[in-house]
Symmetry: C2
Subunit: 473 residues, 2 copies
């Protein structure tokens, strides 16, 4: 990593983001593989934390992990009409393997509903086999034209849940349970507020009855879809002939769900909290919560400082940055860019006065505390910082969410980087109007925090509540 | 999962293995994707445990996880002559993506040395950047003709370590450190004894100076290479121009290592411990250590038994199998096939006498113990079982390892399913002689447990010690 300056957010948000990602050791473009990135150590460590937080919750709600093949016979994609239409333009196709042209090409999975459908048909015969609650951690490829690290890459890492149920009601419960689970990880772990809602028909997953999403606001006011949960109805059940015998002995197609969250979450995290100095990580997702930088000039100072530093670091469970040939200033700069929540400084004067300096990454405030209090102060500070980051992001979301009552108003406000709440009919044609000025309907919130029903700003028809309109990644 | 019978090992070892894998809910063939498998819940849960055991050790020895692209430009493979020759026949090639023929095809990684070389050249300039100690958890594809679940599949999951060093000595230390780490996980966690050794020149990794392996003996006497660690020398450094400036200001190529262990470990685990009743899992790799099956006929028995069962299950931290409409016998059968180390039975008579029945999966022995002792007995039994399984496997390895002093003796003993120790020159031509009767030199053990130097049974030349010859997976 080179120590290039970080572009200010106000100057060029996209350049700022790229700088933060690079200088934070999160990722770098893999320019030799179109649209791909290398996930660097700090970025992968954050992803591992998110994986564990999600995986623990999946398991606690009865899901089991499995692993399905990366390659899917091309013909499988064609079995669900909407699905193939949605994914065809983005497929990477293996046509040669083992030195021979393949009779039937394979596609690299863009998502696994089709191969899941094939296996569900083998695994499910009776209501006794249901519900089937599976998840897989995997890589997928979608050949994207415009890519951006973490937010949209040709290959990405994700988890995809696939479940089968005997009733639509039970499937719907599952879809919403997972939406809540995603929202919980976003809010409580990532300190990233989200709006839970249902996607419009134009924006739903290719092959689903209904899609639900959590949408977060980035610091430039743009929306990021951070997780989706789909009610697949019986569409894939019919396409892959997944039937079960009910308690009453009748044959019926299963009701399926699928849901996913990806390395995109890491991008959302960065764009929610980081600042012009670089990466800011909420303590719960920081691979390293705290570091201690010892400061000394002369040799006799060194011995004194290092002795106390070692004792403290051991008590606090933190890493000492004892690198030689690097100034304390360079070290502070290094840890700041990596987003370490709390950095301690310990110099000869601190040693003499039994104190230590504690610096918070988000506010930049320094506090001189007694060494004996350091452990208690550290844990309290990490807790406060987690809450403060969440509160700040919540405030930003609130401050930048506005109401609009005409299409012109929507266009103008969306251009200012706002989440615009408007009454809009769920119809591909009204979605198209919004798309005409490069924004989109993000979702129709599950909870109405505004004024209930109203007239669609395009068609004049009555609709139940306002939708969220924004520019998005 | 259907409840088909399990073929006896003595009758047909390959059929037995397939039955154990299927009935143990470990995996099933993904017949629609050539040579691939679906990893089922029990199999994936075991893999997660192995991942954690390996990953903790990688991190404790200073390695960081990163993630590199799945796709590699085809031209990269050609930069290291031996490497391309070794892997070309096994490649899966993406020629079409995003609806267009690609100008340069991508291969799906069969392993990542080449793309690692590309990035190391970007990341390494000076001795200060070294050592670079990276690992990635990933899927890879090698188009294999003859496949077998877990042991050899077209796609498999693994970790691949990639490190760069400023001296050959340091790289060699790394290679051996990882070999030890693999052996520790095999022996201490999987209860699977292994022989650490260096591969012959004919068997080394394509592009390496030297390869090291751990080799385990399966119950039919066949060998399984369970992990490899490669000294790549400066081969990839030269191919990808990975140079660094030394402390003295001189430019030199880095010294690299790579090492991998895969889902193949799960296959080795199964073939080491399982029996004619199905899967046997050493407690340390069992996703669920113990289950309690309540037994009752009448309704009043049910209430009594379930109350005590719930209390005990809570104390012991074990799952109660309270499924309705399933006989206790069917439940025992179910858990036996899944390889649960200890199953408790609790019936009305046990309730009356404050006792409980504890059954060990490996020995099949039942013990009636007091309920108050159950927790202590369970943990002691799990510990004993772990040791006993390791001891049994060690004894089997010892009993089936024999010395041979002529090529004819080797051929005959290898046919009997033995590990045959013989003096053999490390030369592709002598390897070819061994291959002529469908066996191979597994490795040259690091520790000589036999009679030191001797004359090569093919060439008559002096060699330092005996090598391990066996049929292998």
């Amino acid at each position: 990593m080179t120590d290039s300056p970080i572009t200010a957010r106000g100057q060029d948000f996209a350049a700022w983001y790229q700088d933060v990602v690079l200088q934070g050791d999160m990722a770098e473009p893999a320019e030799v593989v179109k649209g791909c990135m290398v996930i660097r150590p700090n970025g992968y460590a954050v992803w591992e934390i998110l994986q564990r937080e999600l995986d623990n919750r999946f398991k606690a709600t009865g899901h089991q992990n499995i692993y399905l093949p990366l390659l899917i016979p091309q013909s499988f994609l064609k079995k669900e009409a909407e699905h193939v239409e949605g994914f065809s333009p983005e497929l990477a196709v293996v046509t040669v393997a083992g030195g021979k042209e393949l009779e039937e090409p394979y596609v690299i999975r863009p998502t696994s509903e089709t191969i899941v459908g094939h296996f569900f048909a083998k695994w499910i015969q009776s209501y006794r086999d249901l519900p089937l609650l599976y998840n897989q951690w995997a890589n997928v490829i979608r050949w994207e034209l415009r890519t951006r690290m973490f937010l949209r890459t040709t290959e990405f890492l994700w988890q995809e849940g696939h479940t089968a149920h005997s009733t639509h009601e039970e499937a719907t419960e599952e879809v919403l349970r997972i939406l809540d689970l995603y929202a919980e990880v976003a809010e409580d772990v990532m300190a990233m507020p989200v709006i839970k809602g249902v996607k419009t028909r134009a924006e739903k997953f290719a092959g689903a009855l209904k899609s639900f999403s959590i949408e977060a606001m980035m610091q430039n006011g743009m929306a990021l879809q951070a997780g989706t949960s789909h009610d697949l109805g019986q569409n894939f059940g019919k396409a892959f002939n997944v039937q079960f015998q009910s308690k009453e002995g009748k044959l019926d197609y299963v009701w399926q769900t699928s849901w996913g969250a990806s390395t995109r979450l890491v991008g959302g995290l960065i764009m929610t909290h980081s600042d012009d100095k670089g990466l800011v990580l909420p303590p719960k997702v920081a691979p390293r919560k705290s570091v201690l930088v010892p400061i000394f000039r002369k040799d006799e100072e060194r011995a004194q400082v290092m002795e106390i530093a070692k004792n403290l670091a051991c008590d606090l469970g933190v890493h000492i940055d004892a690198r030689e040939g690097m100034s304390p200033g360079a070290k502070f700069f290094h840890w700041e860019r990596l987003g370490i929540p709390v950095v301690f400084e310990l110099g000869p004067r601190d040693v003499a006065s039994n104190s230590i300096v504690m610096k918070r990454r988000d506010t930049g405030t320094k506090e001189i505390i007694r060494q004996s209090e350091a452990a208690v102060k550290l844990s309290a500070t990490l807790e406060t910082m987690q809450k403060d980051l969440h509160a700040a992001a919540k405030r930003r979301l609130k401050d930048n969410t506005v109401l609009a009552n005409s299409i012109e108003e929507v266009e103008s406000l969306v251009g200012d980087g706002k989440f615009v709440m408007a009454h809009l009919k769920d119809d591909p044609e009204t979605d198209a109007r919004i798309k005409s000025f490069k924004a989109s309907v993000r979702n129709i919130p599950l909870i109405d925090e505004y004024d209930g029903p109203g007239k669609c700003i395009v068609t004049g028809e009555n609709v139940g509540r306002r939708v969220v309109i924004a520019k998005s990644y």
